[in-house]
Amino acid sequence: MVEVTPRIRTENLSAVYGKFTAVRNVSLGFTSNQVHALIGPSGCGKSTFLRTLNRMHELSEGGWISGKVLLDGEDIYAPQVSAMKLRRRVGMVFQRPTPFPTMSIFDNVAAGLRVNGHRSAGNIREIVERSLRQSALWDEVKDRLRDSAMALSGGQQQRLCIARTIAPAPEVVLLDEPTASLDPQGTQRVEELLFELKKDFTIVIVTHNMQQAARVSDSTSFFYLGRMVETGPTRQMFTTPQQEQTEAYITGRFG
């Protein structure tokens, strides 16, 4: 087993919504250039956990945390850290595709760049094309970059959101059930993407679909009732899980 420093990791992280504790005392790390899957039944806290990694959790009513989240060794919740700037280093793709409806395809992808201060038009064009290629969308939209983003299909819109997220070159990309609202074709496209994307990014994906986790991820963590029950290389998790609960979930006995 190679010892690698995780790109982003948590230490005794707990997350609450007011009085309700959604995530309990989780310490988990994610290495670069790998796809890490978080699985577990509904309500187990995996999405909440994900949202603490880019400080989206605090946007919810009563969204508090305790513990630490360290990106390259720095505590992202330190008082002098700007959450906004952090989110430019940790990007997120959501369950339902959310392209900006008033912007064109091009402008959608460029949105993260413009907000980051990129001004040179040539530079932006380059990055947009590269991101769209990386998201396997370029060929389908290269002739209509100025069209409204809403003209795309659901699967295309989600790949657009992925392009938008990776354009500003974040260090970590979080995906919260990204294929949940897509048809099987769209799902397959996105999954294929992940293999390519992990060459450049650290990827953490929440999925309720175990087969998907088995297909795309290098390591898998199983969450249950707010705790991280077990984590390990995907193959090992699915063939020889150590914990009883993990095995019960994987074999479909609940959830």
């Binding site: 946007l59 959310t98 409806p101 907000v115």
Partner: protein, 283 residues
């Protein structure tokens, strides 16, 4: 026996439906009659001269209402310049910080203002501006109209912004958008068609208001571009002509009213069409 009762119930049901259809007819009737009268009695007087000439002395023929058209444009224009930005700003605030104390207060007050008779607002503008300046002015009229517009625009803006799904806001924030830019470039931009509609409808509403102008702008028989003096306006002209003693004036009243209605209705219809189309685009 059961059969009869069921039949009776069915008859009663049909009777009630028939009654209701009668209500619909009765309700639509005034609209048709009013529009009909306006066209029949007013269209005849419409001419290029009517739109471009100021009024002539009482008793003479010819002349037009350009003074009132200009007056309405200036008074309503000035009111919109103040009222729309204030209203939109307040609406954005209430939508973005919905639980803030200021939002609760603003919303409550806006609802109170929306229900206030426009003549009371006119009295307020009179005591605020006219009494102090010791003269009537188009500006005072604009102030009264602006005060009517702000709560209207505020409420429609807030409602339009609330329609934008929260997921859009999250997507922008997750990209690293600062809060203010999320609000403006994403949320407000998405709801812009609806906001524009609300503003246009407010403009249409105040363009037809007479009461608040009665003793602020006062009205005038002369073409003037000076907002610091009494100024004519279309609704005021209709009122003056309608309540005047001359036949000619009565004819003018109908024509002016037709012009006023056209302005108001066109504004209203255009405003709504704008939103309808956009909603289809947004899917």
């Amino acid at each position: 026996m059961n059969f009869d009762r069921r039949k009776l119930r069915r008859i009663r049901s049909n009777f009630m439906v028939g009654l209701m259809i009668g209500c619909v007819v009765l309700a639509i009737l005034p609209l048709l009659l009013i529009l009909g009268s306006l066209i029949v009695r007013g269209a005849g007087s419409l001419s290029v001269a009517f739109f471009t000439r100021p009024p002539v002395p009482a008793g003479e023929t010819g002349g037009g209402v350009v003074h009132a058209i200009v007056g309405t444009l200036m008074i309503v224009g000035a009111a919109s310049l103040i009222g729309i930005p204030l209203g939109i700003g307040a609406g954005i605030f209430c939508a973005e910080y919905p639980h803030h104390r200021v939002s609760w207060i603003s919303r409550f007050v806006a609802d109170v203002m929306n229900g206030t008779p426009s003549i009371v607002v006119g009295v307020f503008a009179w005591t605020w501006i006219v009494a102090r300046q010791k003269h009537f002015s188009g500006l005072a009229g604009s102030a009264a109209l602006a005060m009517l517009m702000v709560p209207m625009v505020m409420r429609t803006t807030e409602e339009m912004i609330k329609l934008v799904p929260n997921s859009l806001r999250e997507a922008a924030l997750a990209l690293g958008y600062p809060r203010w830019r999320t609000s403006l470039s994403v949320i407000v931009r998405t709801s812009l068609p609806g906001i524009v509609t609300g503003s246009l409808l407010a403009v249409a509403r105040v363009a037809g208001e007479t009461a608040p102008l009665l003793f602020t702008a006062l009205g005038s028989q002369y073409l003037s571009f000076n907002v610091n003096q009494p100024m004519a306006a279309l609704p005021l002209a209709v009122f003056t002509y309608a309540t005047g003693p001359y036949e000619e004036w009565h004819r003018n009243a109908w024509a002016t009213a037709l012009v006023l209605i056209m302005v108001v209705l066109v504004l209203s219809v255009v405003a709504r069409l704008a939103t309808r189309r956009r909603f289809e685009l947004n899917g």
